[in-house]
């Protein structure tokens, strides 16, 4: 006698395969997401550093850019004349932020003085700007040597230590301003 088992109508097998395939996709997706390297979190800045983009007030950001540009002009003047120009000479050249103009007044009214040479990096020179309104913009120090300029900030109406060396500035609560280049995000 011939027996034949006829499967009842249904889609259990197909459903099983589809479910398995879906499961495999989900598992592989979870693995891919899980194994993908987490983008490196930005290392927090050292205590004596401050970021120009996120850590400064609007007035400080403007002053910082001006000081960077002034640093190049001062270096050129120094090379041409064989001596460091005084803050008064820089003001006479209308070089911001040394020029006493309405912009200087609106950004803290800094009083600029020559903060003398500092020996740390050879023939370094420094200019100090003591703020009259630290809530708008803190006091600033521009230091120049043969390798370029660096700029320090302290949110107080306070002159920097003399000589304005790294360790002395950091110990007195000054922070060096740092800026980073970020290329366009759609490049």
């Amino acid at each position: 006698m011939h027996h034949q088992i006829v499967r009842r109508a249904g889609a259990e097998r197909e459903t099983l395969w589809v479910a398995l395939a879906a499961g495999a996709i989900l598992v592989s997706a979870a693995l891919a997401v899980g194994l993908r390297a987490v983008p490196e979190a930005d290392a927090p800045l050292a205590a004596h550093l401050i970021d120009s983009r996120t850590g400064l007030t609007a007035a400080e950001q403007g002053l910082y850019a001006d000081l960077k540009a002034a640093g190049e002009e001062i270096a050129a003047l120094r090379e041409a004349e064989g001596r460091a120009p005084t803050p008064e000479e820089l003001a006479a050249e209308a070089l911001p932020p040394f020029a006493a103009d309405p912009s200087a007044a609106a950004r803290g009214g800094h009083a600029w003085t020559f903060a003398g040479p500092f020996a740390e990096t050879g023939d370094g020179i420094a200019y100090a700007g003591v703020s009259a309104a630290p809530e708008l913009a803190g006091s600033l120090v521009l230091r120049l040597d043969g390798h370029g300029a660096d700029i320090w900030l302290k949110r107080a109406a306070e002159a920097p230590p003399a000589p304005p060396e790294d360790a002395a500035l950091a110990a007195a609560g000054w922070k060096r301003i740092v800026s980073t280049f970020t290329a366009g995000v759609t490049r």
Binding site: E72, P102, A106, F181, T182, G184, R187
Partner: protein
């Protein structure tokens, strides 16, 4: 008769050779150019002015986008990509205003073309308005709408072009310094006009988030930016919210843009009664060495006028 055949052949071969000549010499010419006058490419109007003033007659400045194209909505065209093949270097904004250039260089005959990153030494600001995201990772690309940051860029460009063209490096540096002095004088002149007004504080809103760099030079901060993105008009709900924000912040002036007039700006002005002034984005007109100085002088005059008229 027979003698004519070789001569015809000769003529035909000569004609073919002549036709093939431009194609054959093109790469040779591109390679040979550095021996003579260098060709430096630029993407945006201000950079044309910067580089033209730095190089003077010592090199040629080549805009890769024809005048009249809006860099905010520019799509690379084959003929513009072809132009890159004849350059010795290209000067880029590089922080978001000419991001199309990288893809054009990659697709060009010179994918390894030296690139000058003008903004390498500029302290960049975070993008304004709703473009501000990712905790300052997206930067405001309008560093050219500022005197100080233009001076910084001019110095960087001169230094980098001098490295690529050592014979002219000293001339580039001297020209850059002279140009920087002229730019600084523009700002000094504007501030001298402001000195008589007796005020330097202003609560500001801008339509396009392009002017933070410029306003920072005057100690001004932008309280509100209206456009969600450049050229994208806010929805009625966003507009209502912006108007409410401006009233709450007691904004005194709105800075709009000369070449992008928008109907909704008038609505804001009518609803709030706030004075409206228009800045130039320096993205229009023919490329010219003095374009940046002309347009920036006008922008500075506009800013001074706004500050004087807002003075109590």
């Amino acid at each position: 008769m027979t003698s004519t055949l070789p001569s015809r052949r000769l003529i035909l071969a000569g004609a073919l050779a002549a036709a093939a000549m431009p194609a054959a010499t093109m790469p040779v010419r591109a390679v040979a150019a550095p021996a003579g006058r260098r060709r430096f490419g630029v993407t945006l109007h201000p950079y044309y002015s910067y580089v033209a003033n730095i190089v003077g007659d010592a090199a040629e400045v080549v805009p890769i986008i024809p005048a009249g194209f809006n860099p905010h909505a520019y799509e690379p065209r084959p003929e513009d990509i072809q132009r890159i093949g004849g350059l010795d270097a290209i000067v880029l904004n590089g922080i978001g205003h000419d991001d199309f250039a990288g893809r054009m260089i990659a697709a060009s005959a010179k994918p390894s073309l030296p690139v000058v990153e003008s903004n390498a030494d500029v302290p960049l600001l975070p993008a304004a308005g709703t473009a501000a995201r990712a905790a300052g990772k997206v930067v405001n690309p309008h560093s050219f709408l500022s005197i100080t940051n233009s001076v910084l860029q001019v110095s960087t460009i001169a230094r980098e072009l001098g490295r690529l063209d050592p014979d002219n490096a000293a001339a580039y540096a001297a020209n850059a310094r002279a140009y920087a002095r002229r730019l600084r004088q523009l700002r000094a002149d504007a501030l001298a006009k402001l000195a008589t007004a007796g005020t330097a504080s202003l609560r500001v809103a801008t339509i396009h988030g392009a002017y933070d760099y410029l306003l920072r030079e005057f100690g001004l901060e932008v309280s509100a930016v209206v456009e969600p993105a450049h050229g994208i008009e806010p929805s009625p709900a966003q507009l209502a919210e912006t108007i409410a924000t401006m009233r709450k912040l007691d904004v005194q002036v709105i800075f709009s843009e000369l070449n992008f007039p928008s109907a909704y700006v008038e609505t804001i002005r009518r609803e709030t009664g706030i004075r409206l002034y228009a800045f130039s984005h320096i993205a229009h007109g023919d490329y010219a060495p003095d374009l940046f100085e002309r347009e920036m002088a006008r922008n500075l005059d506009t800013l001074v006028l706004a500050m004087v008229e807002a003075a109590p």
